[in-house]
């Protein structure tokens, strides 16, 4: 056995000695490794062979149209057993508000109960994401959920958003990741998680005074006091046009006025799962001047028109093209590729699947210099390690802790721009030591995941050509119990 494994190592070393890493064109295996690192969260055992056999193009097509890929029964069962992710936004919000009210009213044991309720909501919400990220065969869908969630980021520690995030991801992000950008833009604009996070729920016409039917203070501690520009600003700066998108502070204010009244009523949310309401009495009925056009008083239609205009704007096409190219190709994406993606976006009227198809078919995507060019985010690192290990995830706690220690708590990005995915953002002195600590614990079976130590030979086969000959030589020179940790903690595995 030992000898066999040794010879596998030797073959790996030899293969890499004869195939220079940056020679074109890429071998089938290199292409397979590449798509598994970019369209998926890294390879699982057997994935590289499978993609080589089915062909890289067919893999890409299937991932873009994943309806035929079924969840494994174990994953379906795990997901079905979760609570919050299978309930409506209103139900979870109701539980959250109830737990908080009991504490305010000082009921016996309320603090402990609130901790349990909040803990369960947080855990189940995270499980719904992580279990899919690791085990779903629809890997590109999961990669896109990560991408778009960060694009439309909300933060779980802001009040009721903790209870709303499961619904936000499920109802406002996930259904649209291959669809029309305008639809996702509208869904996020009208979701209470976003309305609360960026304060549009509290934005009113100047001078508006809430009537006797006040909003329930519990869920809306910010009493409406006037115009709040937060959402309008981020809508243009982050979600659509981009910071250099050619708009002014005046445009921000005017857009905020157009969006006054876009809110939710906490009571209606809890009682009827009504996640959005246009409150006409809060709307600024004056005429607005926005992006060079005159906008007459049209109530909710003003905001809808604004989303239409923003979704079809050339600056938005460029901004999204840049972000997708940066995420999938390189930290500094080739400008010609960004141009092509922007054109593809405008030609398809903002169809995300079409833009992705253009991206994956580009020479830049499959270029030798793109291979391994991205530094994994802590999320990608942890998820890819779990996938490569093949270990069943009995407990996501240690994975979530590791992401937090690495500075990327799941759903914990405070700023609305979401987590970055560049090397500059994540490669720091602390990061490598902490990743190696995680790799060593996982490799030696010491994470409380109920998994045995990982078989290094199998791990090496799973990772295939993503590990360099130089690294394989060093791994082979070390004793067996260290090898899996070395593979998972190697410089090669930090990249994708």
């Amino acid at each position: 056995m030992y000898r066999l494994r040794n010879s596998i190592f030797t073959i790996g070393v030899l293969l890499f000695a004869i195939v220079p890493a940056h020679a074109a064109p890429l071998s089938m295996e290199q292409q397979a490794v590449h798509v598994l690192n970019r369209l998926a969260n890294g390879p699982k055992p057997g994935d590289i062979d499978r993609v080589v056999k089915m062909g890289v193009q067919r893999y890409i097509d299937t991932q873009l149209n994943p309806q035929s890929l079924l969840y494994p029964p174990a994953l379906t069962e795990r997901l079905a057993a979760l609570d919050s992710p299978n309930r409506s936004a209103g139900e979870v919000a109701g539980k959250f508000i109830e737990a908080r009210k009991d504490v305010r009213e000082q009921e016996e044991g309320a603090t402990q109960r609130r901790r349990e309720v909040l803990g369960a909501i947080t855990r189940d919400t995270a499980d719904a994401r992580l279990l899919r990220a690791i085990d779903s065969p629809r890997q590109l869908e999961e990669v896109m959920v990560d991408f778009w969630f960060n694009h439309f980021n909300v933060h779980s520690s802001k009040g009721i958003d903790r209870a709303l995030i499961a619904s936000y991801e499920r109802d406002a992000i996930r259904p649209y990741v291959f669809g029309s950008f305008r639809d996702m833009l509208g869904a996020t604009a009208k979701h209470p998680a976003m309305l609360y996070y960026l304060d549009n729920q509290a934005s009113t016409a100047p001078g508006f005074v809430p009537g006797k039917k006040r909003m329930q203070a519990d869920a809306a501690p910010v009493q409406p006091k006037g115009l709040n520009e937060n959402y309008a600003r981020e809508l243009m700066e982050l979600h659509t046009l981009g910071v250099d998108g050619g708009y002014t502070q005046k445009d921000v204010t005017e857009l905020a006025r157009m969006l006054t009244g876009w809110t939710y009523n906490p009571r209606a949310l809890v009682l009827r799962n009504q996640t959005f309401v246009f409150a006409d009495e809060r709307h600024d009925h004056g005429v607005k001047q926005w992006l060079g056009r005159t906008v007459p008083d049209q109530g909710q239609a003003e905001g809808e028109m604004a989303l239409d205009v923003l979704a079809q704007h050339p600056a938005t096409a460029r901004h999204l093209g840049f972000k997708l190219a940066q995420y999938f190709v390189q930290d500094q994406p080739p400008p010609a590729l960004v141009d092509r993606l922007a054109r593809s976006y405008l030609d398809s009227k903002g169809d995300i699947r079409t833009v992705l198809r253009t991206l994956f078919a580009s020479a830049e995507f499959m270029a030798p210099e793109a291979i391994g060019a991205k530094f994994k985010t802590p999320y990608q690192y942890v998820v890819s390690a779990m996938r490569a290990s093949g270990a069943p995830v009995s407990n996501t706690g240690p994975l979530l802790n590791t992401m937090s220690q690495l500075g990327m708590p799941l759903y914990g990005c405070q700023t609305p721009d979401g987590y970055k995915n560049t090397k500059a953002a994540w490669l720091n002195p602390d990061a490598l030591t902490r990743r190696i600590t995680f790799a060593t614990a996982l490799g030696s079976g010491k994470l409380p995941l109920a998994s045995p130590a990982i078989d290094a030979g199998q791990l090496q086969a799973t990772l295939g050509g993503s590990i360099s000959g130089r690294t394989l030589t060093m791994v082979a020179a070390n004793p067996e119990p260290l090898r899996a940790a070395m593979l998972l903690g190697s410089p090669d595995f930090m990249q994708r």
Partner: protein
């Protein structure tokens, strides 16, 4: 001549790199990391009106009939500060520092942003940009990038579960968990594992530098925590868990590693909506370990305390009136605390307008009459000797300086 007007009278540009005065020279050249700054953030909005209470204001006990602190000299009453303000009795360990004029407060201070959301207000206080949510970095991280002297990986440190927003950014910073595990050996200290990974990362084009920086920072922290206690008065007596223990650890790290210059610690549990108590009770139970920890920090830093400024701040204050549950709700202005050798101590600073109904912000809480950035900027300017140009990189859109604010001695 004031330093400021002297600077302003020089041509902009090259003049700003000329160190001004002997202290500036000493700090920037001989020993660039001699001046320390420690920021303690009380997350959850501490009730500043019961930390430094206007006990002599007749409105105070009218607004707070059950939770208000009693007059100095009464049982469970406040500790007299200046005949008008009284310190919470749970902070009695800080009384000597007040008498030595090494403790000061700035009342009715805080963020000009009106938000009463913990989340947003903390974010603004850490980014240093009230009202702007998308500032990518924290002001302490920006501070690291402009401080004079070569940066080392452990120059800025935070103690807590995750790297805080205030230290997020391009400059390197180290995050240590709280408690005993704060500076323990890691896997790379095990010889076989360390050797294996050293070999893999040695000479690696992309990652060698970061890998080595990580190892060096860890070694600096480990050496500093294992090092002998230099001139320690009480030999490092064991302390209760929590902040006093972390404070003692922090003092040890800073004394043993002279390159460490900035530190940040966040403490939670201040959101006292119900049953906060007066001289005793929930708030008192939170304040006591904080006061003890600050006293421990001052004592164990030893002579270094004279070159240190400690700032204690919280995202906003609480309502002046107690609520129906014996607690207080989210308010606006609060009190900032300053400790250290260079602090203009023994004084409650700020523009104080009393707690009469007409003086309250929106009829419910303290107005913010001193922007928290004015206080921090003065600490950076007078204590860390930052130039105007660098100050404006840390706090963009600074308000005009509060006239007459002198929280740091010149």
């Amino acid at each position: 001549m004031q330093r400021r007007s002297f600077l302003n009278s020089l041509a902009v540009g090259a003049s700003l790199i000329v160190p001004v005065g002997r202290n500036a020279w000493a700090a920037t050249v001989d020993n660039p990391t001699r001046k320390k700054l420690i920021v303690i953030m009380l997350r959850g909005a501490v009730d500043g009106l019961n930390v430094v209470a206007p006990v002599a204001d007749q409105n105070y006990l009218r607004l707070r009939p059950t939770i208000g602190l009693g007059m100095p000299g009464t049982e469970g009453g406040a500790i007299d500060l200046d005949g008008y303000f009284g310190l919470h009795p749970a902070l009695s360990m800080l009384q000597p520092l007040w008498q030595q004029k090494k403790l000061a407060f700035v009342h009715a201070s805080g963020s000009p942003d009106p938000s009463r959301s913990h989340f947003d207000a903390q974010d603004y206080m850490e980014s240093g940009t009230p009202g702007r949510k998308n500032t990518p970095d924290g002001w302490m991280n920006r501070l690291v990038t402009v401080l004079p002297g070569a940066s080392t990986p452990s120059r800025a440190l935070s103690i807590g579960p995750v790297m805080p927003r205030i230290l997020a950014g391009t400059a390197a910073a180290v995050n240590l968990p709280t408690g005993k595990s704060g500076a323990k050996a890691n896997v790379l200290d095990r010889p076989a594992i360390g050797k294996a990974f050293d070999q893999m990362y040695a000479g690696h084009e992309g990652f060698q530098a970061a890998y080595m920086d990580g190892k060096n920072a860890h070694k600096e922290i480990l050496d500093a925590s294992m090092g002998s206690e230099k001139q320690m008065a009480d030999g490092g007596a064991p302390l209760p868990n929590g902040f006093p223990d972390d404070a003692a650890h922090l003092a040890k790290l800073m004394r043993n590693n002279p390159r460490m210059q900035l530190a940040f610690v966040a403490l939670g549990g201040w959101d006292t909506h119900a049953n906060q108590g007066a001289g005793k009770g929930q708030l008192a139970n939170r304040l006591a370990p904080l006061g003890q920890g600050l006293a421990v920090l001052a004592e164990r830093l030893g002579p270094m305390f004279n070159d240190t400024t400690i700032v204690v701040m919280s995202e906003f204050g609480r309502t002046a009136r107690e609520n129906g549950n014996g607690g207080t709700d989210h308010g606006h202005g609060n009190v900032m605390w300053l400790l250290g050798g260079g602090v203009a101590g023994g004084k409650v600073h700020g523009d104080w307008r009393g707690v009469g109904d007409a003086a309250l912000n929106e009829g419910r809480d303290l107005p913010v009459t001193t922007d928290f950035r004015s206080v921090l900027a003065q600490v950076c300017e007078r204590h860390l000797l930052l130039s105007d140009q660098n100050l404006s990189r840390i706090f963009q859109d600074m308000p005009a300086r509060a006239a007459g604010l002198n929280v740091m001695r010149t």
